[in-house]
Subunit: 456 residues, 2 copies
């Protein structure tokens, strides 16, 4: 066992305790009520980096939530890696579905439960603790590195691109390693070769200026819910395809052999559906489940509301109804182009008698892909095999990590996803958790990766 591994093992209780304190900060980036908590999380991260031995740890203000950086560049001739993660989390709603409070982390059956445990507070603490172990035991790191942690990943990394563009020297690196971007499954080590992008918009439909009695006024004027459901229903055709003109126009052809490679991956579709409690798969006709999730774009409804949804009935014609839409994008769809096409379609389809208000969300994210033979990816493959004993598969990620596209656009470097979260850990849902076994595997893997990345 190396000195680094011995150190990490000896300090495991404290490492876990630090992660627990981190999760207890409700850093919900989408909710203005939690702005101060996102700032507290940034303070916590900077303190952790300083505690690890990185004296230049620094909090940078942005027009949104802050960014934290720290670096160590004392290994001349060695590669430089940029390490990414995020300290903001998803909202905990619906609260009543949590077995224990989302921001009071608890360990049950070797799992750490809490909002952000898996996405991304547990995984992003791993490289910090590995750096601490190297500096504590060897006073140096095998390679150069720079940490980049943001507080806006869950709100499309709105200010990360601007920050990267303005801090190219600070962030200069050969490639990036991301602690975010969960592995596909808990039972099959995998490496991500592409992630979907995203764009999002919110629509509101307004009818009369006040709620109306559905008897006194029913039949006289438009019902905003009726107009809304007509609009939303028009967005997909009978086959589950998105009906917005031009939606699929820029979808890139796949690398040769990828369809066959996806088909060859062992995947228990029935088991997957059972695990999420779905009776059947469903989606765009003509594609298999993994294809729909990895290499095809989607248009999803994330929320809808209007009128009275409480107990009992209320015979009202509401004055307003709303919905939230997001699209997952594949190479080479541009988020701003797709959002505009969806918006144009909705405006053109708005029925008479109501008014449509549309808000295109800023900070959509591009889809991302890395060459299958990138040296950083090849090393990740070797380290994963070393730690798990299993040859990892190349997979795509249905989800979005805006970071990859932003680094490629601004610094011209690629990103290797090296997270030890797994996609079954209910992030973005109640009862999010992070496996303690993943924490241990992650500490071992990051230690090995930095050591093996160094040129002899």
């Amino acid at each position: 066992m190396t000195a680094v591994e011995t150190y990490l093992r000896a300090n495991r209780a404290r490492v876990l305790d630090d992660i627990v304190r981190f999760i207890a900060i409700p850093s919900v980036s989408t909710d203005p009520a939690h702005t101060v908590d996102v700032r507290r999380a940034a303070d916590f991260v900077a303190a952790q980096l300083r505690g690890a031995g990185l004296a230049d740890a620094m909090i940078h203000s942005t027009p949104g939530h802050p960014i934290v950086t720290a670096s160590w560049r004392h290994a001349p001739g060695q590669p430089t890696v940029l390490i990414y993660g995020h300290f903001d989390v998803q909202p905990p709603d619906p609260l009543q579905a949590w077995h224990t409070p989302p921001f009071s982390p608890v360990i049950r059956e070797a799992r750490l439960y809490g909002r952000g445990a898996s996405d991304d507070k547990g995984p992003m603490m791993i490289p910090i603790k590995v750096v601490e172990a190297y500096l504590a035991t060897q006073r140096r790191l095998p390679v150069n590195l720079v940490f980049l942690f943001e507080g806006e990943e869950e709100v499309s990394s709105a200010h990360l691109g601007g920050f990267i563009a303005a801090n190219k020297d600070l962030l200069a690196a050969d490639f990036a390693l991301s602690a975010d971007g969960a592995q596909w499954r808990a039972d099959l080590p995998s490496l991500i070769t592409g992630s979907r992008g995203i764009c999002a918009l919110e629509l509101e439909v307004f009818g009369a200026s006040k709620d109306l009695h559905s008897g006194r006024h029913g039949g006289a004027v438009a019902n905003p819910i009726q107009a809304l459901v007509r609009l939303l229903a028009a967005l997909h055709d009978e086959d589950g395809k998105v009906a917005v003109p031009g939606f699929y126009d820029e979808v890139a052809a796949l690398p040769p052999g990828e369809i066959e490679a996806i088909a060859a991956i062992p995947f228990d579709e029935a088991g997957y559906l059972r695990a999420i409690g779905a009776a059947a798969g469903f989606g765009e006709a003509g594609y298999g489940l993994l294809q729909r999730n990895w290499i095809r774009p989607t248009l999803e409804f994330n929320g809808i509301g209007g009128g009275y949804a409480g107990p009992g009935k209320k015979t009202v014609i509401p004055s307003r109804a709303m919905a939230k839409i997001s699209c997952r994008l594949v190479p080479d769809q541009a988020p701003e182009v797709i959002a505009q096409r969806v918006a144009d379609f909705l405006r053109a389809k708005t029925p008479p008698g109501v008014r449509l208000a549309l808000a295109l969300e800023a900070g959509g994210a591009r889809p991302y892909a890395i060459a299958p033979d990138h040296p950083g990816l090849v090393l990740a493959e070797a380290v994963l095999q070393e730690v798990t004993g299993i040859r990892p598969r190349h997979v795509r990620m249905g989800a979005t990590v805006p970071f990859g596209g932003l680094l490629k656009d601004n610094l011209g470097i690629d990103t290797v996803f090296f997270s030890f979260a797994t996609s079954d850990e209910d992030y973005h849902a109640p009862n999010e958790f992070f496996r303690l076994s993943s924490l241990d595997a992650g500490l071992a893997a990051w230690s090995s990766y930095l050591r093996r990345l160094a040129r002899p």
Copy 2:
């Protein structure tokens, strides 16, 4: 001025104070949290009846909310009238839209604001106070009467029919006068010759058993909101007609001349739309606004919900989405038949990958109509002309008062609507109010009606 009128004028401040105390009881019948408040409202009504001099005032339990009765039958040879009203109210949501709290009644600009002020607490107190005035000044009433006040009007009078059927002797009368069923407009006295019925149902669409990350799982499984909006959008065709097979099958032919009579009623459509803040009328093609509201059935969406509707975005595929639907019915549509046809249609249209749960609400209400030459209606016409100086019009009511159909079915008697609420008073909406001028007109009119109903 009669002694009754003098008494009412002298006691006006106390009458108003009693109405204010009545409105302050949050008797929301649809919400189980307010069950005790509906009971408190029943206690209040019984106490008011006893205070008026009706010693037999009584509270009757039902499987739902209670019913209050009281009678005076000491005028042999005179007609007997059954007087109806209700002491339950609509929910006050959305609370933030109220200028003052819904259950803290206030008077502003000669209007009494509060939930239930217009529907039906203000209007139903009028006949109680008129009876008090007769008994205080003359120790007798001109005619026989029985009061019937219920606590479930806003939840389709679920237990009123059973109560009437079981208490035919207690309730025996020549016809009914309803203190509920607002007049059409504040500026044109009117009498209602028909009201629409109602049926209602709630649907839930279930997908996966938990909320899913829209990136990790998007494209793989059905989105319940997507299924819900497809289902709801299918309920109307492009022309605003209800697309449920058989929906219009039993719609009765109108009495001769009614279309022309509706067309002859002075109605400022632009002013109406301005008053409710609607840009345009909208509804079933081929019918005018008043026709759509009075003599045509509707299918309305009263509420919809699912996923994340809070601030910011949450990229979730929800496990559940729901909607509330109600239909207004015209003669001779039966609520149970129409609800069943809507349910059958929704079941048949449910797309794959989701599960539909449907709850048909019990206690739908039949539509109602009275002959234009009914003597009680003719007297109401004369009294309204006497009090207002204007000849009242015959109108229909888009809204529902289940009471009319229940009395006709169970006692074989007709109902004359004699309410002094008006349809612009925002009942079923925030900032409900009752005009103090309507209170005064109502007290005068009910005093006159009882006097003129007596045979010489």
